[in-house]
């Protein structure tokens, strides 16, 4: 290990994670090209808009670390967002709406976990199935219509500030700290590394990979519920396709952030930087008045570029 340490100190640039360099590059490019990118208002905007994606990317990091995937997250987000809208409109209570969203999200997460861990269905197929179910349910409960008339207590979540900091950012920082503590300082987090790195090691240690795996996917579902609140608050409505494609952005952010799809090699800080990279990219393209179809293509290109860049660096 002495050698490895020497190599690192010999070239300090190598220590800077690739995703940080990618993020700085994006900021530099849009700083020059996109009008109004470098302004306090826009930077705050990027941060607030990124909070929703962060809520999904945190559990997605854990899921990918188990060598899994959750394709249903976007559709479940749509559904939980609708739950917030429908329940809060009916009862006038933000808390009940939020509770309903988390409950529905949790149910989907546990279902995903059971399909994968108990029935042994590959994550790609299992969550593709629940994606369809969640999207279908979203269309049914909303009757294909937007749900409007959201109580102010819900929309306030997005616009209010706490000590001058927008509430979504407070929530996102809180979520990050909780996940950080969970992954790096608890037994559960330690076992997440083992789920992807060496599942047999868990069995030999007398632990149940099945239950742990269900727990990881349940976290994903619950966080889709939390994100549902932010989404409904942001749009001031519930929309039957609001979460479309969010699983794509979340997986992209995690991949850009340097989490590997193999052997349980993940990094939450990288995922957060990856979320910002995706956020900056979409915001910059928006300011340049490019259509959203270009944005999707660019996020895809970003993933490919970031992984290629990482590969180049690790080879040199």
């Amino acid at each position: 290990m002495g050698e490895a340490d020497l190599a690192v100190t010999a070239n300090p640039l190598q220590r800077i994670p690739g995703v940080a360099i990618v993020l700085l590059l994006l900021i530099a490019v849009f700083g020059v090209l996109a009008p109004g990118f470098v302004s306090a208002a826009n930077i705050a905007n990027v941060l607030v808009q990124s909070t929703l994606l962060l809520m999904l990317s945190l559990p997605m990091t854990l899921i990918i670390m188990t060598e899994g995937l959750d394709l249903s997250m976007g559709a479940v987000l749509t559904l939980t967002s609708l739950m917030v809208a429908i329940v809060s409109v009916a009862t006038g209570s933000m808390v009940l709406g939020f509770a309903a969203a988390v409950a529905v999200g949790l149910a989907f997460g546990i279902a995903n976990g059971c399909l994968i861990a108990v029935l042994g269905i590959p994550p790609f197929v299992a969550t593709l199935g629940t994606l369809g179910v969640a999207q279908g349910l979203a269309l049914i409960v909303s009757d294909g219509q937007s749900v409007v008339g959201i109580p102010q207590s819900v929309s306030e979540i997005y616009s209010a500030t706490l000590l001058g900091v927008p509430v979504p950012i407070v929530l996102a920082v809180l979520a990050f700290l909780i996940f950080h503590g969970l992954l790096y300082h608890t037994r559960f987090g330690t076992y997440v590394f083992a789920l992807g790195g060496n599942r047999e090691a868990l069995t030999y240690a007398g632990l149940s990979p099945t239950r742990l795996l269900i727990g990881v996917y349940a976290l994903g579902g619950a966080m889709a519920g939390v994100a549902g609140l932010l989404m409904t608050a942001r749009m001031n409505a519930g929309h039957p396709t609001a979460g479309l494609g969010f699983e794509f952005d979340a997986i992209a952010a995690v991949a850009v952030g340097g989490t590997s799809f193999e052997r349980g090699n993940g990094w939450l800080g990288g995922a957060a930087l990856g979320v910002l990279a995706v956020g900056v990219l979409r915001n910059g393209l928006n300011l340049m008045a490019l259509p959203s179809s270009i944005q999707v293509a660019s996020v895809g290109a970003l993933v490919i570029f970031a992984l290629f860049f990482d590969g180049l660096r690790s080879r040199s």
Binding site: M1, A4, G181, H185, T186, R187, F188, T190, F193, A194, G197, N198, E200, A201, L202, T203, Y204, A205, G206, L207, R263, G264, N265, G266
Partner: protein
Amino acid sequence: MSTVISLHEPSRLNAPAPPLLELRKISKAFPGVRALDEVSFGVWPGEVHMLLGENGAGKSTLMKILCGAYRADAGEFFHGGEKVTINSSLDAKRLGIAVIFQEFSLVPYLNIAQNIFLGREPKGRIPGTIDRRKLNRDAQRVLESIGFDIDPTVTVATLGVAQQQMVEIAKAVSQNARVLVMDEPTAALSDRETELLFDLIRRLKADGVAIIYISHRMAEVFALGDRITVLRDGRRMGEVHPAETTPDELVRMMVGRNVDMSYPRHFAENPGEVLLEVKGLSAPTGISDINLVVRAGEIVGLCGLVGSGRTEVVRAIFGADPASAGQIIFGGRGKSGGPDEAARLGLALIPESRKSEGLAPARTVGDNLVVCALHKLFPSGLFEPRRVQRVSSDLIEKLRIATPSARQAVALLSGGNQQKVVIGKWLAAGARLFIFDEPTRGIDVGAKAEIFALIDRLVADGAAALMISSEQAEICHVCDRAYVMREGRIAGELSRTELTEENIVRLGMHHG
């Protein structure tokens, strides 16, 4: 081995003290196989009990039963004379049994301390959290106790194989293991690392730990063993003491027939035409100015220390790595392209890692046998299963591959038979030069002899072989000539008469 061979103390057998762990008539069957048939043996504190047997003799089943991963169908366990059951990994742990598998049970992206105490983390103040400081302190103490000087917060993925093995042992020691089961622990270690491991094993012995040690290497069986149990086809063939037996006798017990360890060969008096000529070959992978010749009918060895560039030479010849200078002439024609050209010309590379580079393990024996010959067999591009069946049955018979049928998945075959499938697929493709990279790694003694007999038949039929092996004895017994490499260059060539282990070592090492 620098240390004195530890002799068995016969008095112990008659001593009233019961074995620390004893197995009586343990049986285990799987569909179609009796993996273990009434196997009995015992291990006393402070002794190394060697477990010998060919692949498929039942050693791994026995290990899985000992660690609680499998449950025995019949038989009894006694721990310190008391009857016990082993139905789960928890039972095994309670009895102080720890198993160190060849495939480590470590989590790559956790650190050493986290791995040692996986599932037994010291609790922090908040429920569910870990007391990191205590974790690292405890790990430090365990590592010190086995004499492994390393920072416990280093990520396991950055460690070498030998260090990972030390972590495994630390893990076992931390669980107060009194019975340590080790599966070919030196398979991936250098000589120096092996010495360190042996030192540790002697220290554990002195602490009264009982060690069950599975090995394929005769030298260590005699250097380390206090008692040897030989298994064959799931049955216990007998228990012997190192002082009262010989390697030949052990081999006879293992394979049940007399395998001549000198691998008889039909050495060619007059080798044929030059098949491969390499002139001044250099490659960015670290080899320079390689010159060698292989003639039809010859087996040519390529030796040298691990890391001397042997694999790089054969990869460059095959075209798997680009060359930066030099010429490769095969069958009288220059060769410059990649593996596809090599295969078309009749070169075959039989790589060291069969499972990842030589075979598609989940596919059938038949599929694997024809995979390199698809162009030849089916020029129209349409696949004919019946033709595959015919071609593969011929090869299975010719190469004596032990498989129930061509439709068996290759992964289910033993190492030696898998190797035959790799050879067979090149034979089907019409290869004339076979390049072997460690052809007998992980293959048991009986199968080794069969593989060499097969190579001998190939070259007798006019093919040629270039063979990398770290087992110098094998090179000496099997090869017509050998090149010895040192630091990316050919250090010398040894003719049949000069070919001795001593000469290989002398050429391969830096001389002062």
